[in-house]
Amino acid sequence: METGSPKVILEMKGISKTFPGVQALDNVDLTVFEGEIHGLVGKNGAGKSTLMAILMGLHSMDSGELRIDGRLITNVTPRGALEAGIAYVPQQVRMMDSLTVAENILAGNLPVNRLGLVDWNTAFQDAEQRLRQLGLDLDVRQKVEGLGVVEQTMLAIAKALFSKARIIILDEPTAALARAEIERLFGFIRSLKKMGVAFIYISHHLEEVFEICDLVTVLRNGQRIGTYDVSSLDIPSLIRLMVGEELREYERQTSRQDDVVLEVRGLTRRGHYEDVTFRVHKGEVVGLSGLAGSGAAALGRALFGLERRGIGEIWVNGKPFTARDPREALDQGLAYLPQDRYRFGLVGIRPVRENITYTILHQLVNTLRFVSFVKERSLVQKYIEALGIVCASPEQRVNLLSGGNQQKVVFAKLAATRPAVLILHEPTQGIDVRAKLDIYHIVDELASQGIGILIISSEVRELLGVCDRILVMHKGRISAEFKADDPQTTPENILLAIEGGNAHDQKQVASVYP
C-alpha cells in the first residue's frame, strides 16, 4: 500500500452463522482498507457466499460484529447495507437493457424541463460527465443491451459508485470475459482503487487473484484460515491453504467392470469443447471437473441432447449414440441429472409420484394409453423406499420436499429408466451434509448395479470421495486424469490442474508464479 496508514473501511469480526445441519461460518474476521482490492477465496461451500450475504444484509448473523467506517451496524438489512455503501456486482450484470446508458445511470433522477418532460440534452451531458470523472468513456446514448459484457460490468460498478458505494463486491467478474476484456476491467478497477474505492474480489480463477488483489483471505469449511499478502504466496501454496489436510469424507469399494458403457471420441464443438475423448466403464464412477467455461458443463448437457453436440463419435453400450433430444438419449441408455433441479429436474407443483414416473410412462400404459395405477404405485413405492425419500405421501407436491429429497426424486426418475450411463451435474449442490452422504450412497449403489456414472462437479473433495477416476477439463480440452489409487491424486494437484497448471509437476507451475 502506497500511503502510510490507510483507513479501515470495513471490519467484520467473529461472524458466525449456522444453517440447519451446517455451520456455514465459524468466527470469521474480514478487514478491508480504503483503496484495497481484497481477494476472497475458498472452495465451494467454504463460506464465501454466506459471508457476503451477511454483509449485504441478505442473511442475519448468529453472532459477530459489523463495522463500516468504524460505525457499528446492527441488524443489517439489504437497504441498510446499500446505504452504508456496500454494492454487489454479480457475474451476470442485470440492468434495464432496453434503455440507454444515461437512463440507467440517472434512473429515477432524470432532469426535467419546465413542461415536466425529460430534458435529454442535460441528461446526456450529465451522464457523460459523471462517467468521465471515473475515467469511463462510454456512449451514453447507446442502449445497454448493445454494450459488451465487460462494459456492462464497468457500468454496473460506476452506477454503484454514483449511489455512494464505497465497498464493491465483485463476484467472478471475469467468468465470461476474454483476456483483452479482463485487462480493460482490471485497468478500470485499478484506477478506482487509486480514488479510494475498496473491492472484495471473489474468484475461482486464482491466477487473477494474484494479478489484481493486494490481500487475500482464505476460507475453508466456514473458518478463516488467514489473510495473506499475495506477494507472499504462489498458486500451489494458496491451493494448499484452501484445501487443508482433509480426510476423505466417504470411502468406497470400486465396482468397475471391464466393459465400456460410454465412449466419447474426438467430440468437438467450437467455442465449447475440443477433441474430447474418454471412456466410462460399467460400474465405474468417473469425475469430470473444470472451471466455469471449461466445457465440462456444456459437455454434459450436449451428451443428453439439451444442446448441440458438434462433431465426434459417441458409443453407449457398444452402439453408436445418435440421440438428438432427451427422449432419444433416455431410450439409448443415457440419463442426465441437471444442475438446476428447479428448472430442469422437477415439475415442482406436481406430486412425487408423477415426477418419478415421467421418464418411463410409456412402460406403464395399457393399450388405451391409460397409466396403470397398480404398476405405478408399486414402482413409486419401491423407489421411495430404496432411495429413502422422506415425503408425507407419494401425492405430496415435490416442491414441498427438502432439497436432498427433491434430488432423490430426480435420481429415482432417472434410475427408473435403467440407464447404462448416468451423468450427474453438481448432484449435491444446495443440499445439506446428511443428504449429501445419502446421495453418495445412492451413486455407489447405482454403480454397483453396473451403471457407468460420470459426475460433473466443481467439488474436488466430493469427487475424490466417490470416483474411481477424475478427469479435468481446461479451456475445452481434457487436460489431466487422476486415478483414485495414485499417490499423485491429491486435492492440491487436482485444483492445480483445474486452474490450468500441469498437475504432475508442481514445481513447474510454481516457477511461473514466483
Binding site: S49, Y88, D171, R343, V347, I349, L361, R369, F373, G430
Partner: protein, 343 residues
C-alpha cells in the same frame, strides 16, 4: 385430518360451496321458482356450447397456452356449414341462402370437425415450430377466421338448417336435450382422459415446467400441438351444436365466448400459467356462469346489468385464486436462495 388439511380441502373445493350459495340465493329471491327441473335443464343447456368450448380451452391452458381462436372457428364453421347445406336464394333484407350445392349434413358435419381440427393443428404448428406467441397467433387466427365468415356470408344471416343437422343442438331424449347429455359426457370423458392417460400427464408436466418436461423425455412441442388439435376439434363440435340449436347462421356467432371460456376455466381453478387445474373444475366455472345468467333472467334483471355482474364474478374468482396461491406458497421451507449461491 389436521386443521390445515381441512382448510386446504375447503380452499380446493371452494367453488362448489360458492355454487351452492348462489343457488340458495336465487331460490330465495325467486320464491322457490329457481329450484325446478325446467331451470336445471335451462342452466345445463346454457352450459352446453360454452362447456364444449371450455374443455378445449382448458386443455390448452393446462399446456400453458391460450386458445383465443375457438370463437373464430365457431364463426367460420357455422357460416360455412349453412352456406354448404342451404339452397341458393337471392339476398333479401340481410337474409341469404347457401351456395346452392345443398350438401348433406352427413358430409358437412365431418367436414366441420375435420376443419376445426386442422385449424387447431395449424395453431399448434405456428406456436411450436415457428415459436410465435400463442396469445397473438390465436388472436390473429380468430380475426382471420371471422373475416372469412363475413366474406362468405356477406354479413347476412342464413336461416333454416336441415333437420338431420339440428339433432345435436336441438334434439331431445325425452325431456333432456341431446346437447346437455353430450356435454356432460364429454366433461366426464375428458376428466378421465387428462387425469389418467399418458397424454394427460405430459400436458400437466409441460404446462407446469416445460424445461423439466423436456429433460424428462417428453416432447413439449408435440404435446402443445396436440392440445390445440383437441381445442380445434372441440370448437368444431361446438359449432355443430350451436348451429343446430339456433338453426340460423350469422358471422357473429360465438362472439365473446373466448373470454367466457377463459373465465370459466379460471373460476374453476385452472391456472393461467399452466399445469394446474382440472376439467371438472372448469365445469364448475361453466356452471357458475350459466347459473348466474339463468338466475338473473328469472329474476327479470335488466339484461344490461348481466354483463357487469359477470365481470364482477370473474374478478372475485380471481381474487380467491390469488389468495389461495398465497396461502399455499407461504410455508415452503428451504427455498431461500441468495444471489450469491453460485459463487
Amino acid at each position: 385430518m389436521t386443521r390445515s388439511k381441512w382448510l386446504q380441502f375447503i380452499l380446493d373445493q371452494m367453488i362448489w360451496f360458492i355454487l351452492i350459495l348462489v343457488v340458495i340465493f336465487f331460490t330465495l329471491r325467486t320464491g322457490g321458482k329457481f329450484l325446478s327441473g325446467v331451470t336445471l335443464i335451462n342452466v345445463l343447456l346454457h352450459a352446453s356450447v360454452l362447456g364444449v368450448l371450455t374443455i378445449g380451452q382448458t386443455i390448452c391452458l393446462l399446456s400453458g397456452n391460450f386458445d383465443l381462436s375457438a370463437e373464430g372457428i365457431v364463426s367460420l364453421l357455422t357460416v360455412l356449414a349453412a352456406w354448404l347445406m342451404l339452397p341458393y336464394r337471392e339476398m333479401t333484407l340481410a337474409q341469404a341462402g347457401g351456395i346452392g350445392w345443398e350438401l348433406s349434413p352427413f358430409i358437412v358435419i365431418p367436414l366441420m370437425l375435420i376443419l376445426g381440427t386442422l385449424i387447431g393443428w395449424i395453431n399448434g404448428l405456428l406456436i411450436t415450430r415457428l415459436r410465435m406467441n400463442n396469445f397473438i397467433v390465436t388472436l390473429a387466427m380468430q380475426l382471420f377466421l371471422r373475416g372469412i365468415a363475413y366474406v362468405i356470408s356477406l354479413g347476412a344471416i342464413m336461416p333454416g338448417t336441415p333437420k338431420e343437422f339440428n339433432w345435436l343442438g336441438g334434439g331431445r331424449i325425452g325431456a333432456i336435450p341431446v346437447s346437455v347429455v353430450v356435454t356432460l359426457l364429454l366433461f366426464l370423458v375428458f376428466e378421465f382422459f387428462v387425469r389418467y392417460t399418458r397424454f394427460g400427464r405430459e400436458l400437466y408436466a409441460v404446462g407446469a415446467n416445460r424445461d423439466a418436461a423436456r429433460a424428462s423425455g417428453f416432447k413439449p412441442e408435440r404435446t402443445i400441438t396436440q392440445a390445440y388439435v383437441i381445442g380445434g376439434f372441440m370448437a368444431g363440435l361446438a359449432s355443430w351444436m350451436l348451429l343446430g340449436r339456433l338453426e340460423v347462421s350469422t358471422p357473429t356467432l360465438g362472439q365473446g365466448m373466448t373470454l367466457e371460456t377463459v373465465a370459466s376455466a379460471v373460476i374453476g381453478g385452472v391456472a393461467l400459467s399452466g399445469g394446474a387445474g382440472s376439467i371438472v373444475g372448469a365445469f364448475s366455472g361453466v356452471l357458475l356462469l350459466s347459473i348466474v345468467d339463468t338466475g338473473l333472467n328469472i329474476m327479470e334483471v335488466d339484461p344490461f346489468w348481466i354483463t357487469g355482474v359477470r365481470g364482477l364474478i370473474i374478478l372475485v374468482a380471481l381474487l380467491l385464486e390469488v389468495q389461495k396461491a398465497r396461502f399455499r406458497l407461504s410455508p415452503v421451507p428451504g427455498r431461500a436462495k441468495s444471489p450469491l449461491a453460485q459463487s
